[in-house]
């Protein structure tokens, strides 16, 4: 228990600063939501396409929550191209196109996750100038470091599956990884906001 508390204490200061271009909403919102997901995970695709718009409209747009995205890059069979996708997303965040690239990656997940042609999914979401910048950033060591930092933060927060939303309200950390029903998640977030 003490170790867990220590891990949380070490983690909170790093949670405090979102990586460039990977957050939405007011950083001073009463509830902080840190979303850990992976571009090759089918449940993450479902969350991104069906529930994330509702989370944004219910909590982020009204200023109730500050949403921060993290790549919790999976490894192993079926996730061979996960790290490449995470790196492209991190690079796209540097040119202000994080969400557009996330949308593109999730929309075409079933093809590039198998073929490994990740760039073919990413490129249409970028302009010619942005493509050049993103390709150049892919060889920048800070991009790989950023992806690794996201993973480390997830491990420190005891994220054990994707997608997981770690909600923080007044220092209390509540991880949520059940996405069978949006109403249940909303009820939990509303409860945290009422405290």
């Amino acid at each position: 228990m003490k170790m867990f508390a220590l891990a949380l204490a070490l983690m909170l200061p790093t949670f405090a600063s979102a990586q460039q271009g990977k957050s939405m909403g007011n950083p001073n919102a009463p509830l902080r939501m840190d979303l850990f997901d992976d571009f090759t995970c089918p449940h993450c695709k479902m969350l991104h396409e069906q529930m994330l718009p509702r989370i944004i409209s219910d909590f982020v747009t009204p200023g109730k929550a500050y949403l921060v995205f993290h790549e919790f890059t999976l490894t192993g069979p079926g996730h061979e191209h996960s790290k490449t996708a995470s790196m492209y997303a991190a690079a796209a965040a540097r040119v202000g196109k994080y969400m557009a690239v996330c949308d593109a990656l999730f929309a075409t997940q079933s093809s590039w996750a198998v073929s490994g042609k990740v760039w073919e999914a990413v490129a249409p979401a970028l302009s010619e100038a942005e493509r050049k910048k993103v390709q150049a950033l892919m060889s920048d060591p800070s991009i790989a470091a950023e992806v690794q930092k996201d993973l480390d933060q997830g491990m420190a927060a005891r994220v054990d599956r994707t997608p997981t939303m770690v909600m923080t309200r007044k220092g209390k950390v509540t991880p949520w990884s059940s996405w069978a029903d949006y109403g249940l998640f909303k009820s939990m977030a509303d409860l945290l906001l009422s405290k």
């Binding site: 054990d160 599956r161 509540t174 069978a180 249940l184 998640f185 939990m188």
Partner: protein, 147 residues
Amino acid sequence: MAFSRSKILPIAVVVLRVLLGGIFIYAGYVKLVEPWQLFAAGIADYEVVPLWAAKFLAHTLPWFEVLVGLLLIVGRWLRTSSVSISLLLLVFFSLMVRAFAGGKEINCGCFGPNELISWKTLVRDGSMLAASLFVTFFAFRNRRTPV
């Protein structure tokens, strides 16, 4: 001085009753102090009951766990409480084995959130089931044994 089998068994039954009862009270308590949504989400993840049932169980099951735990410890309605706990553990254990065998990476939901189903949780709940069946057997056998 050697204890005879007839003396050891009743002591073992009482010890197991207190242990199992305590575990059930604790399991109910940790769910009651957490928001009910966390337990409802845990139940929903098993994908065996509809969402309304998961919500209903999240509100009621922790209280039932505390109640049968208390009854088992104090020895009131012993057959009812021991059968209830055995049936609960049988259901929990079956669902956990089903989820684990199906490769589901979900929380056990046994003692609050953040405990994935693993060999460890299966061995633990399996041992509790064996202990509760033992207690249940003696609760019925003692009823039939002439004093």
